[in-house]
């Protein structure tokens, strides 16, 4: 990792109370005395195809994303209609305790379901990653075998050429 360019183009300090020139001079001095690093970093750029599921079928990939987004959002909200008339208010007053009771048990079940969903979502993600790795390994293996077959064919061809005339 090499420092390139003017420091003033890289770092901006807007606070007028800070002595910017002095800060820049010290950074320059420090940069000058450091040993280069072993690993070059600038070429390491995030590419979704390398780390992830780019080769998975699009529908499956989308479903996995959807699972990740929604696995814990299954609780029941207040489904009672907002009353506008006296009659509706009265009906709501009678329905509300029952509604709350049902919500209590439904949400209790939901919280158990969320634990299960979370584990399932995580397991699916691991399986997808494993599948991706296996597929890449398989592709690499097929490629290796293809090369080996080509080499063998070439060797056979060479042997054929070297065969003494008249030999059957």
């Amino acid at each position: 990792m090499e420092h390139t360019g003017d420091l003033e183009d890289i770092i901006e300090i807007r606070d007028p109370e800070i002595n910017v020139a002095e800060i820049m001079a010290r950074i320059r001095e420090n940069l000058g005395k450091r040993e280069p690093l072993a690993v070059e970093v600038d070429s390491l750029v995030f590419d979704p195809g390398l780390g992830g599921f780019l080769s998975l079928e699009a529908g499956l990939k989308q479903s996995l994303q959807q699972v990740g987004l929604t696995y814990d959002k299954i609780y029941v909200g207040d489904q009672l209609r907002i009353p506008t008339t006296f009659k509706e208010r009265l009906v709501n007053a009678l329905r509300r305790p029952l509604h709350q009771l049902v919500r209590f048990y439904a949400d209790l079940l939901s919280s158990k379901q969320v634990v299960f969903n979370s584990a399932t979502s995580s397991a699916l993600a691991h399986l997808a990653r494993q599948t991706e790795r296996d597929r890449k390994n398989t592709d690499a293996e097929i490629e290796r075998l293809r090369r080996e077959v080509a080499e063998l064919r070439q060797t056979i061809e060479q042997l054929r050429c070297r065969r003494p005339r008249g030999h059957q």
Binding site: E12, V39, L44, Q62, L64, S110
Partner: protein, 381 residues
């Protein structure tokens, strides 16, 4: 046309007396999830409206377990003539579709939308929702009696999309909560003389956590081996970004020196802030960046990449990075953690800047825009 300024602010009793008996304030949001900045803002506004004496409710597409007692699914909403809809917009959603079809006047709160290209090939659902979200923004312009953005940067998007009345109201940050307890377990676990570099944000490509790891690689190996990088934030259960970050950490041999915490509870988050010596942000897109304000309030100096709303939020109270030159950024970080005078100056300036986002200031700005929206809606009806 720009919206009202804080000097136009009505007194709260005036606002309450004039409008509260006659209006119901109904907020809509796509995702009411714990830890999400838009959701936190929506909840803060909900509490504020209730405190001001308004009848208020919250509807959403998706509601996580943390907010299930506050939010209701948008399909259960029954409109009334006295409603003013407040819509938090940060991506396409069922709620957005519902409100467009409903066609009622609304106060749009724009949190900005992450450009879709950050999710191309990695998160197809998010890609679609952000792409569609940006495309649909102009469709809300005719419905909006007022549109407020979380930063000047985002307000420009609203103007470009054809909104007539626009303004800026920063996100309501709950500073009192930041004074609360921190997880003693985490404080104990990292109670050492290490220098801790912190970033808080979901693990997504636009936040560029890989650049933090690259910077830390230099910092750890060349400036200070007794150092640690905390990446605090939730990640998707699936998707290639997290495996890539882990590969990068292994590739650089950083091992346990990079801590990917996953989603943190509030107490955990407070502990990471307390442990932090510097907050480093390399994000490519932020609609506001609450963690910068939180860091400044909690006395953690900030270094941040100059992108989207970051320079608006940070002001001159931090160090701005213009180019991704990892060695220089690492050396700047090193200087900030070793030069007491520089450190103290940035901490003091950061605290002043955080004061600009104090609750009373933001509430007054919101009240001014709300009044404007209520008057405009009244004229329409």
């Amino acid at each position: 046309m720009p919206g009202p300024t804080p000097t136009d602010t009505p007194s709260l009793p005036e606002l309450r007396e004039r409008f509260s008996p006659r209006v119901r304030l109904v907020q809509f949001i796509s995702d009411l999830s714990y830890g999400d900045a838009s959701a936190s803002d929506c909840i803060e506004i909900h509490r504020l409206l209730q405190r001001w004496g308004f009848q208020a409710s919250v509807y959403a597409d998706r509601i996580d377990s943390h907010y299930r007692k506050i939010g209701q699914h948008y399909s259960s909403y029954r409109p009334q003539d006295r409603d003013l809809i407040i819509f938090h917009y940060s991506a396409w959603s069922g709620a957005a579709q519902f409100l467009l079809q409903l066609g009622k006047p609304l106060l749009l709160i724009y949190h900005n939308i992450t450009p879709a290209e950050f999710f191309r090939g990695t998160e197809p659902v998010v890609w679609e929702l952000t792409q569609k979200g940006r495309d649909a923004l102009p469709q809300f312009a005719p419905l909006a009696v007022m549109a407020v953005a979380k930063s000047e940067y985002s307000r420009n998007d609203l103007v470009d999309a054809g909104f007539q009345r626009t303004g800026v109201v920063p996100i309501l940050v709950d500073f009192e909560r930041l004074d609360g307890a921190a997880s003693s377990e985490i404080l104990r676990a990292y109670d050492d003389d290490y220098t801790n570099i912190l970033f808080v944000g979901r693990l997504v490509p636009n936040k560029r956590q890989e650049d933090l790891i690259k910077t830390f690689y230099y910092y750890h190996h060349r400036c200070n081996p007794r150092s640690r990088l905390f990446l605090v934030g939730a990640h998707m259960a699936v998707g290639p970004y997290l495996p890539w970050l882990r590969k990068l950490v292994d590739h650089f041999g950083l091992g346990d020196h990079v801590v990917l915490t996953g989603q943190a509870t509030h107490q955990d988050l407070m502990a990471y802030y307390r442990l932090a010596d510097v907050f480093l942000c390399m994000s490519e897109h932020e609609g506001f960046c609450v963690p910068i304000v939180e860091s400044m309030y909690l006395g953690v100096p900030v270094i941040a990449y100059d992108a989207a709303a970051v320079p608006f939020t940070m002001g001159d109270a931090g160090i701005l990075i213009k180019k991704r030159d990892y060695a220089s950024i690492a050396e700047m970080t090193h200087l900030l953690t070793t030069d007491r005078k520089l450190h103290d100056r940035l901490v003091a300036r950061g605290r002043e800047r955080a004061g600009d986002f104090a609750r009373e200031n933001v509430e007054m700005q919101f009240a001014a825009h709300l009044e404007h929206a209520l008057i405009a809606r009244e004229k329409l009806s």
